[in-house]
Symmetry: C2
Subunit: 120 residues, 2 copies
Amino acid sequence: MVQYTAAPLDASFAALSDPTRRGVLELLARADASISGLAEKFRMTLTGMKKHVGVLEKAGLVTTRKVGRVRTCRLGQLGLAAEAEWIERYRQLWEERFGELDKVIGELKLKEEDRGPKDK
Amino acid sequence: MVQYTAAPLDASFAALSDPTRRGVLELLARADASISGLAEKFRMTLTGMKKHVGVLEKAGLVTTRKVGRVRTCRLGQLGLAAEAEWIERYRQLWEERFGELDKVIGELKLKEEDRGPKDK
């Protein structure tokens, strides 16, 4: 199994913390796009979009290639497997932790019902 | 189905972009802890840990409660369901996109084999 160090998770989660960057990823998952095309679609300056694409590129989520005067963006090799894995593991721990609480609440409810059940 | 706006995803992904904060969550998933206890465990100043806990608290990932002079941290109500859902959807799109590429590579390999298969 591949071991992931902390650093890539840092960069990818930070990259995902912006709605424009998440939108760019969703768009590129459907088709490649130029930076100017992306800027237009997200109603943003070219400089602003360049920064967002830069963050995505550093995180390995996007690659860019310049042909002539156009820089085309496409999805990078990072499929967010390690990120999905971390969240999934956390969700399991979280559910176990809240499951304990639910059990206590469930037991309290049962006691309540024993004390005074209401007829239909 | 619950509809999530962009803002909570922003805060939670940003909260996850730090190894100490991810470590705190994993630790709290096992047991509640005081801020000073967390600071000690992560070899960090109290001020530094307070900041990290503040970020986690704002994102809904942790709740704190002060009893006397001790502030205790426990897991918040946010189980990262929306975050898992976003990543899962993206992973599917990503796999479809790279699946197309794999198909092309697979076809090229078949052609290569047709041209000159090696006997055992």
